[in-house]
């Protein structure tokens, strides 16, 4: 028995925390949670209202990475080669229309899948975000 009860925080690599905060809160409905200057880092988390899981908008670089490693991570982020975030919507077509009108980078218009309907976008840095509306029933 490992006693783990939930997914709490997941880190998303970003290249500018202010821009990330603006993007995820303005366009994707996240709420700001912690925004703490720890001296060595800015601890910046966001989450979907009503849900406990948070995303840590983690700036690439800092003492955790030597400059060469930080450059490699930035390289991968800007190539869209690092992971992604998967969100659910209760009206993905409306979500799509709002994102399109806001000129967010759309990687995939709504497509019907066996599991529902989904779209794809990128955040300002190249991270992939998938938004799905599960099939009814």
């Amino acid at each position: 028995m490992n006693h783990i009860t939930s997914l709490h925080i997941r880190s998303v690599p970003v290249l500018d925390q202010d821009e990330a905060l603006d993007f995820y809160t303005t366009h994707l409905g996240f709420e700001p949670r912690d925004d703490v200057d720890l001296g060595f880092m800015r601890w910046l988390t966001i989450g979907i209202p009503g849900q406990d899981t948070s995303l840590l908008l983690e700036l690439v670089g800092g003492p955790q990475h030597d400059p060469a490693t930080a450059a490699q991570v930035r390289e991968l982020v800007t190539k869209g080669a690092l992971g992604g975030t998967f969100l659910l919507s209760d009206d993905v077509h409306a979500t799509y229309a709002a994102l399109r009108d806001a000129r967010v980078e759309i990687t995939q218009e709504p497509v019907e899948q066996p599991y529902g309907t989904d779209i794809g976008i990128r955040d300002p840095f190249g991270n992939h975000v998938r938004i799905s509306q599960p099939a009814a029933g």
Binding site: D16, T78, G80, Q108, D118
Partner: protein, 148 residues
């Protein structure tokens, strides 16, 4: 956000590759993609290979075959229609390209694989074949279906 020149190029090339993903069944529009990436058409292919490790032609071919694999798994479309849907006008060219890349003919692949109930972007990324591709098959062009 401040990007190095290299990172800025990556980001612009990623926008161009995303456009290829959306319009995979259409002719490879190098001038149009180059405009998205803010490069000249002559720079585009070289830069794409530098950033993503393969030519735009090869990437498009892998994208088309990956889409064909998905249609074969998830639909009952005849192979001829699958070929057209992903941008091939010639069934012979599609079948030969598919077999060369996937290792078995389309009909045999369909018989062996069913639909996958996981997000389609993972299926797309993880089933996109990596084998070498020839330019000839990618030159088959046709406007086509919605991207996935």
């Amino acid at each position: 956000m401040e990007l190095t020149r290299r990172e800025d190029v990556n980001r612009r090339m990623l926008r161009a590759r995303d456009a290829m993903d959306r319009h995979y069944a259409e002719p490879l529009d190098v001038p149009g993609l180059a405009r998205i990436a803010h490069l000249s058409a002559s720079q585009f292919g070289r830069t794409f290979k530098d950033v993503f490790g393969e030519t735009p032609y090869r990437y498009l071919q892998r994208r088309r075959i990956e889409r064909a694999m998905s249609l074969l798994r998830q639909t009952d479309l005849p192979v001829t229609d699958v070929a057209r849907e992903v941008g091939f006008e010639s069934l012979g060219s599609f079948s030969a390209t598919f077999a060369r890349i996937v290792g078995r003919p389309p009909s045999e692949f369909r018989a062996a694989h069913g639909a996958l109930a996981v997000p389609s972007c993972f299926v797309a990324a993880w089933t996109r074949p990596r084998e070498a591709a020839s330019k000839s098959a990618v030159s088959e062009k046709r406007a086509g279906p919605r991207p996935q």
